[in-house]
Symmetry: C2
Subunit: 309 residues, 2 copies
Amino acid sequence: MTEHVVGIDYGGTSTKLLLAAAGVREAVPMAQAVVPTPRGGDALEELATHVEAFVAGRPVRGAAVTVAGIVDDRGVVLTSSNLPWLAGVAIGDVLRTRLGFAVVPVHDGRAAARAEAVLGAGRGHEDTYVVALGTGVGSAHVVRGVVEPGAHNAAGEIGHISQDEQGRPCSCGQRGCLETFIGGAHLARRWREVVAASGSASPGELDALTAQDLVAAARAGHPAATAILAEATTALARGLLGMLATVDPGRVVVGGGLGQAPDVILEPAVARLRARATFHQVPPIVPATLGPWAGAWGAALTADEVGSA
Amino acid sequence: MTEHVVGIDYGGTSTKLLLAAAGVREAVPMAQAVVPTPRGGDALEELATHVEAFVAGRPVRGAAVTVAGIVDDRGVVLTSSNLPWLAGVAIGDVLRTRLGFAVVPVHDGRAAARAEAVLGAGRGHEDTYVVALGTGVGSAHVVRGVVEPGAHNAAGEIGHISQDEQGRPCSCGQRGCLETFIGGAHLARRWREVVAASGSASPGELDALTAQDLVAAARAGHPAATAILAEATTALARGLLGMLATVDPGRVVVGGGLGQAPDVILEPAVARLRARATFHQVPPIVPATLGPWAGAWGAALTADEVGSA
């Protein structure tokens, strides 16, 4: 009977569950489900109930769960900004006790990057640099299927390299970081400023605007939206060029929510990068293919290793 | 009887010869010599004669020779800007035939970086990022004794990340690269401009000025020299911060000719870096210890591997 692995992507608002045959080699799911993220003191009990129903008695070799935060060597969550009720909890131990199979925590961004490199747009390539354009900007260099963590688990912060020391303040404490140009939160704020200045939206409508609204306005030819994205894609081009000069990866994969808009983000950024490149070895720079399921696939890859260890 | 390895650092003007006991674990030489670099059509014959006299009949397991240029998979030098007579020559084969022991070519900058990481200021540490401040700016991430080459042998070009797209033209075709702020050739040119404007030097004296003269003037309190180095060390701080954010190394070692002036280069740069750092994990950032012999030591390390293979 086929053994299974379970990937759990424990997100801020919704949680994705993925079932795959053990020995994952390609992104072909046996089952997928999305549930509202269990919150608060009973969150893990509720999550386990969801997983149990999802697995439906099939044999499970192991599972992994993404955590948007820092997990110590013993598997205890130290901090998680999105899921504060996990602080101090040995999430894997709690779920294993309840479910009866091994469950290990994995960093959400690293899981997604690894999945894109191994199963997604980097599949079959020895090394891939994965960039996630979401609310913030994350990245990871994946070499032979393994994320390069850095000496202090802090590699891949290309979103927090300043391009303008007089620029807009960044959450990291610097100014003018790449993230202040192309992070979703910054783009949404800038678009709200434009719409507010036009006087055409109520406060409630303003609050609801996101970076995707900016993308839609740029696609419709709105000049201010176009100008904001021109600045954003120029910054992305500069940031990627610096990364290429430093790391020289064989392939670059760009994902995340804003990675889903290649026509107005990735393609213009790559064009600007090529216009600026001189000595650089510019590798293929391609959109991610796993979409919002990358984190769950990364968890499934981790579960595979744990279960077979 | 002790077996030996020979490291040959074939430089643009002088060539360093280093003899060490095979199984190199620390930078303790058995013999060292410096000879004028053999040039032109008979260069390798002459170099072999120097090596033969230097070795003086002692048993040699193997040797390696640095090449400032690109060597193909078969050991043929494709291009070398400093040593143009090597183009098309299988330098290792020629020397082995003449000397009777294995001689392999090794990239000069990588050899020096590896030696600093393994035998110099990075000794005993798992991973070290080595920066060479010379005529240009080179760098390499050395992990467990091995240089990370990049997918196209092009990693480590942090000297060619632009900090100012309207800045001074760089040899790489971009503008405002780190190298235009702190590369020795750029610093020498800027110092010549200052001295020329003062009208106090003859054309011959101007031509002879180097970056080391700028360093000496800054140490003596010359305001223009101080201002140039303030800009240079600010740029170095920015460049190192970007590298830390991307790579997160466990240790940074700064060498090269300008690395020998830590009081006016490295220390102010590190102070500026620390003043700007926010989320960064700032590892120890220390001066190199092997000085001009780093390349020869790197060749000795390579010779050790070849001879024992």
